[in-house]
């Protein structure tokens, strides 16, 4: 029997029972669409989170006071007692390596900000000129904190775009004196960048020179130090340098944690990759359910078409051909169901992308391939029982309708 004839005969049989066929196509399509939509959500979440971390900056190392075992369990275990403070001098010392391009010390707090009778409580970053380049931020207008001696700061500040519009409205912000806590700072720039940093909306912050912020909050230590390595290859050297330098300054104790952006990225990548796989697996179960449905409906169909099977045998079909005929039906069903499901799944994930533009949804290729393969395989596996039952029918009994 020719392949084209096999497909045509199966197609004719499927067309003869449109209700049954539509039901099975629907079951298969739902399964495939579920895989596509769920994995595209998982993949969207993965891309979103890794994208956020990538936007932290390239070749970035983050130095945090206190030693934590990041490799073991989820909660950070601090070895020893209270960690020594990270100081501005520590940060300064980190600049002295060929592996390090920029060092940006950071403190974080919050303070009341007021101008012309308007007052708001906002997050305050204490930073230096290096932060702009390290974080790849862009200025909306004006300029960033001036470069120069960290210990002799001027009374200037940079604010986020949202804060600017809420405090100053239509008044030009540059050159205005903004009160932060109990001090006054001249606004010299407005950030143009969007996004979040350590969970804080950068459009809604005030950035002060780091020493100003430290004395404003009355803290002796830094929140963390951001270090940009000169290249991707020098990340390890930079990390080693940071550890030994800080240890040297802290009586030989390595009481800091150095996180590389790569480590964070790959952790999130793994976590969300596993999440997506899990979602695919759960959705995949519906494909097996669809297969079971195909099996049941085809078993009914075989018993309804008993005399037809007898006739096929009488006019020369061996068992193998009967199996092929019924299997072709199952495969056609699962294949067309899968195609419909793919279309629906891609449509659904495009819709989600429309509704939540921030989420970069899109099914991963492996999930799409796996969905189609599992759908067709499930059609084959579950279709083979009815097909073999049909092939085993005794033609005499089948034709007699006994």
């Amino acid at each position: 029997m020719r392949a084209s004839d096999l497909l045509r005969q199966s197609w004719l049989a499927l067309r003869r029972a449109p209700g049954r066929t539509a039901l099975l196509l629907l079951a298969m399509a739902i399964g495939v669409a579920a895989v596509v939509v769920l994995t595209s959500l998982g993949e969207g979440a993965r891309r979103y989170v890794t994208g956020e971390f990538a936007s932290l900056g390239t070749n970035l190392l983050i130095v945090i006071p206190g030693r934590s075992e990041t490799t073991g369990g989820a909660p950070a275990i601090f070895v020893g007692q209270t960690p020594r403070d990270l100081t501005l001098d520590d940060a300064r010392a980190l600049q002295r390596s060929y592996a390090v391009r920029r060092v940006a010390p950071v403190v974080i707090g919050s303070a009341a900000v007021s101008w012309g009778g308007l007052e708001r409580e906002v997050p305050v970053f204490g930073a230096t000129a290096e932060l702009l380049a390290v974080r790849h931020w862009e200025m909306g207008s004006g300029r960033f904190l001036p470069a120069g001696d960290w210990d002799r700061p001027s009374s200037v500040c940079v604010i986020g775009e949202k804060l600017r519009s809420e405090i100053f409205g239509n008044t030009p912000a540059l050159g205005q004196w903004l009160r932060v806590g109990d001090r006054r700072f001249r606004v010299i720039g407005v950030l143009g960048s969007e996004g979040r940093s350590i969970g804080i909306d950068v459009q809604d912050i005030v950035i002060l020179p780091v020493t100003q912020a430290m004395s404003l909050f009355d803290v002796p230590s830094l929140f963390r130090i951001l270090v940009e390595a000169t290249s991707r290859d020098s990340m390890d050297a930079a990390a080693r340098f940071i550890r030994s330098t800080v240890a040297g300054r802290h009586q030989g104790e390595e009481d800091i944690t150095v996180i590389t952006q790569d480590a964070v990225l790959s952790t999130f990548d793994r976590v969300f990759g596993a999440l997506t796989m899990t979602l695919a697996g759960i959705a995949g179960i519906s494909l097996v359910v669809a297969g079971v449905l195909i099996m049941n409906v085809m078993l009914v169909s075989v018993s309804q078409r008993t005399s037809e099977v007898g006739l096929l045998k009488a006019i020369g079909a061996p068992r193998r051909q009967i199996v092929q005929l019924f299997l072709a039906e199952a495969v056609l069903l699962s294949m067309f169901g899968a195609l419909i499901g793919l279309a629906a799944g891609y449509g659904g994930s495009a819709l989600i992308g429309e509704l939540y533009p921030a989420l970069p949804v899109g099914p991963p290729w492996w999930a799409v391939v796996a969905a189609v393969v599992v759908a067709v395989a499930s059609g084959l596996v579950f279709g083979s029982l009815p097909a073999r039952r049909a092939a085993r029918l005794d033609p005499v009994i089948a034709l007699a309708g006994r």
């Binding site: 029997m1 003869r16 045998k313 009488a314 061996p318 068992r319």
Partner: protein, 226 residues
């Protein structure tokens, strides 16, 4: 060498604890081109004999030689191939595939045999024309009369140019007029060389055959030629 040779063939059905001897030590030889009728009371084993000759069933004991070959040694594929190439069936219940048109039903054996579509279509058209069914080619079975359905079934049974045609009460579901038409078609086929076996309850049809068998309780009790 006879075309068909049955040698002490038994066919025993097990029904619960009981054994039903549908064929009992049947010896039979049929030459190519013969025209046989098989008659006998209900349950005498006529259909069982026909199914066995058509390789739809196997003897419990004895030998069946078709064209000198022992058919009991053939596997499923070889048996199916033999049915497709050498044997045609005509059933009382027609057994047309309801979703296919008359032409597609006639075409079906050639589809299974893997014959090229171009060749198939010309042969189907020819077969339908010779049975006066050209204008019914595109009709489905439920749009045809009983006589027309049986003629489509005959076209299907003969499309592979078999040497043996087995008809089990081919006129059983038909009125006298269409029954006569069907028998005439079968006899024409026999006249052109096809070996024809017809099982019938109708004595008037039975006596038209050149050789008449009578079965009782699984045995051939009479074998007459005229």
């Amino acid at each position: 060498m006879p075309m068909i040779e049955l040698d002490k063939v038994d066919r025993v059905f097990e029904v619960g604890d009981e054994q039903v001897r549908a064929l009992d030590q049947v010896d039979l030889q049929i030459e190519a081109g013969e025209y046989l009728s098989i008659m006998g009371p209900s349950g005498s084993g006529k259909s069982t004999l026909l199914n066995l000759l058509g390789l739809l069933d196997r003897p419990t004991a004895g030998r069946y030689l078709l064209d000198g070959r022992d058919t009991t040694r053939l596997d499923d594929r070889e048996q199916a191939l033999t049915r497709g190439e050498k044997i045609g069936f005509v059933f009382q219940a027609f057994h047309l595939v309801p979703r296919l048109t008359a032409a597609e039903n006639v075409e079906l054996p050639m589809v299974l045999a893997g014959i090229a579509p171009g060749l198939r279509h010309s042969r189907v058209a020819e077969a339908l024309a010779s049975l006066g069914l050209s204008d019914r080619a595109g009709h489905r079975p439920d749009q045809l009369s009983g006589g027309q359905r049986q003629r489509v079934a005959i076209a299907r049974a003969t499309i592979m140019a078999p040497e043996l045609l087995l008809a089990d009460e081919p006129t059983g579901n038909l009125d006298t007029h269409s029954g006569d038409e069907v028998i005439e078609v079968l006899e024409q086929l026999n006249a052109s060389g096809l070996t024809l076996l017809v099982v019938t309850h109708d004595p008037q049809l039975g006596v038209r055959a050149r050789r008449q068998l009578k079965m009782v309780d699984g045995r051939i009790v009479r074998d007459e030629r005229r």
